[in-house]
């Protein structure tokens, strides 16, 4: 596609063909207010908030439906445009309940923001406000407040065009028009929470996040969803070292603008059922500094004394952790058998985003040549079992018994509580993906980095760090002092990671596809 040069507010900008003026203006940091337009949903043109002045056209034009063309001259803040926006806002506010102190959207509400930019008028309307339905249970995850809706139809278009389930409609005319569900239907498609994220006002709110915290307290970190092997790009919103929600982050190659509900709600694993302290096989915890170090040398002695060692790795670990774990198993523990694999049953798969493989880093295990079947390794038994990752042994009680009987001692590096291993195994707390920097490789072989969001709690450390500590407790020169060093070693051995892990920019918006794996074409939209 070629590029064209247009002029916005007297400044030239060269953009790709096919963009509209709202997108083009963003390159100049000029925000054109809009409600109904959303990049992922396309143009609808019903809100009329985005009108701008175009040279040579007698009337204002909607910027969302105005595509760039060589020589286009647009002005976005002339008195006529400002007056127009003020009037559109006045119309929207006629019947709007100013619920901001209750509304979950305050702080990220388009109406609030645009009001502050263009408002400052008093209401000229002295009739009673038209009341609509409030607090309607729209579906398993969503609550609807018809009064706050600005009728932009984003949610309607999402359900019609993206999930193709079509639960929502706008009914009636004039000031009676309101958003509603088809009779007898519920907003219960597996992507319903996306409507909450794209609703520009607080008409659709998430039952889960509702009233739990105000958005202006939240801080954000770029991360990757761990719900399945697609590796959707997300933002972790957190405050006070507690994760409050996931929001979709746009990556056209992976997840577009969306996120599935299960993935979006999987943020809870960051907060709940975490393993914080090192626990001995007797069940005693060792949480103070000297006792913690003693425990590590105890573990070191156990590893040294073992005659046959089996190592199991979870595809929930980051690439860096997997690499460190495999090196540790080989060089320090001298393990005879080593496999990364999964015992978790497959999830649901569909055309939009969800993948059956419920692990974020299966491809990473495969690229590191670790992938294998766990069962034979477990059946063979031995002296010592090293388990890296907390999800491995949670799904099969018979297997659990077998492990206990066929291995003399067990060391588990886990981020979450291990049911069935409260005693009888060393439990070593490790950080989960929200607490450290790292990377996952998604099912198409795209390596995506994630950033730490919250501080580590308790005694948790990233796996590669705790392995280094154990190595040092065993008087071995082993381990890395920082992640960069680990990544250098990793890319020396596996040069195909180099671009993704070392050369990619810190924000790495789209991730880097690994060239050697059978990379599919860019993900479905």
């Amino acid at each position: 596609m070629g590029s064209v040069t247009i002029e916005i507010d007297g400044r030239q900008v060269t953009v790709e063909e096919g963009l509209n003026v709202i997108q083009a203006a963003q390159f100049l940091d000029i925000q054109i207010p809009h409600f109904c337009y959303h990049e992922g949903l396309g143009v609808d043109g019903n809100c009329r908030m985005c009108l701008v002045e175009v040279e040579g056209m007698p009337k204002l034009q909607p910027a969302c439906n105005l595509f760039v063309k060589e020589g286009l001259k647009v002005r976005t803040r002339t008195p006529q445009v400002m007056e127009h926006r003020r009037l559109v806002l006045e119309c929207l506010f006629l019947n709007h309940p100013i619920d901001c102190s209750i509304c979950d959207q305050s702080g990220e509400c388009y109406l609030q923001d645009y009001y502050l930019d263009h408002g400052n008028y008093r209401s000229r309307y002295d009739l009673p406000k038209r009341l609509k339905r409030k607090r309607v249970d729209a579906g398993p995850h969503v609550i609807l407040d018809a009064e706050r809706c600005v009728l932009c139809a984003r949610c309607v278009r999402f359900c019609d065009n993206i999930t193709k389930t079509g639960e929502l409609r706008i009914v009636n005319r004039g000031d009676r028009s309101e958003i509603t569900l088809f009779p007898g239907k519920k907003l219960d498609n597996p992507y319903s929470l996306n409507t909450v994220q794209i609703c520009p006002v607080g008409a659709l709110t998430s039952k889960d996040f509702r009233f739990s915290w105000r958005v202006w307290f939240l801080k954000s970190a770029h991360s990757i969803c761990t719900g399945c092997s697609r590796g959707c790009n997300i933002i972790i919103d957190h405050a006070d070292n507690h994760a409050y929600r996931y929001q979709a982050r746009c990556n056209p190659q992976v997840n577009g603008y969306w996120l599935c509900d299960d993935g979006r709600l999987s943020y809870k694993m960051i907060n709940d059922h975490r393993l914080h302290v090192l626990t001995e096989p007797s069940g005693n915890s060792r949480d103070t500094f000297p006792r913690f170090e003693e425990a590590l040398s105890g573990i070191g002695r156990q590893i040294e004394g073992a005659s046959s060692v089996t190592a199991l790795m979870s595809p929930d670990l980051s690439n860096e952790d997997l690499y460190a774990a495999s090196r540790f198993a080989k060089e320090i523990a001298g393990s005879q058998r080593m496999a990364a694999g999964s015992l978790k049953p497959d999830g649901v798969e569909d055309e939009l985003l969800r993948k059956a493989d419920a692990h974020p880093n299966t491809s990473g295990c495969k690229t590191l040549n670790l992938w294998g079947d766990l069962k034979p390794a477990i059946d063979a038994g031995g002296d010592l079992l090293l388990v890296f990752g907390s999800d491995l042994l949670q799904y099969d009680n018979a297997l659990l018994k077998k492990i206990r009987s066929s291995f003399k001692s067990i060391i588990i590096f886990a981020s979450h509580e291990m049911k069935g291993f409260e005693t009888g195994a060393w439990l070593i707390p490790i950080a989960c993906h929200a607490e450290m920097d790292g990377s996952f490789t998604n099912f198409e072989g795209r390596v995506q980095k994630f950033d730490a969001a919250i501080r580590r709690r308790g005694d948790t450390l990233p796996l590669w760090r705790i392995l280094g500590k154990i190595g040092r407790a065993m008087q071995r020169e082993w381990g890395w002092s920082d992640l960069a060093g680990l990544r250098r070693d990793l890319t020396d051995e596996f040069p195909q990671w180099k671009e993704a892990l070392i050369e990619a920019t810190p924000s790495n918006k789209t991730g880097v596809p690994l060239k050697m794996t059978g990379t599919k074409e860019a993900g479905e939209e």
Binding site: K134, V136, S212
Partner: protein, 181 residues
Amino acid sequence: MIKVPTPKMRWWEKIYLFEIVRGLCVTMGHLIRNIFVQKNIYTHQWPEEPKPLFPRLKARHRLTRRDDGTPKCTACYCCQTVCPAYCIHIVAEESPDGFVEKRPKQFEIDILRCVFCGYCVEACPEDAIRMDTGDAVIVSNHREDFILDLKFLLNGKGTEWRRSRRFEDHTIARPPATFGE
């Protein structure tokens, strides 16, 4: 730089002796006056005799209620956001009454940290928090007693003059919250 001139001392001030005597005269004057005319001594029998406070004094907080007795506070966190001493702690919950959806489940003010700036009162969009209890003396031997909780704050009495009719509640009937009629 601004130069502030120091006043020059005279020679008898430099000697100090005369000045000491002059100061003692003031003290002795008060002493002698108080011995002979005792009813003019300016003393205040605090705390038995409370001193009348200025009505606009920013005193201990309270939370106001609607006519039906429910707290006016909607747990919007504005006061917590604006508080410079970080002494307000709110936890919100969904209200079961169905009229105002949100209410505070916990509302705590750590009065030991409070600097009585009144920002919380200014920030509140609901006129739910006021500092008009006239209660300026908060005494206890236990630290926990200085954390005012929701129950305590809601039962504080305000001074009458402060009532304003601007925020009177109105009850309006809403259509039922169901779909598909």
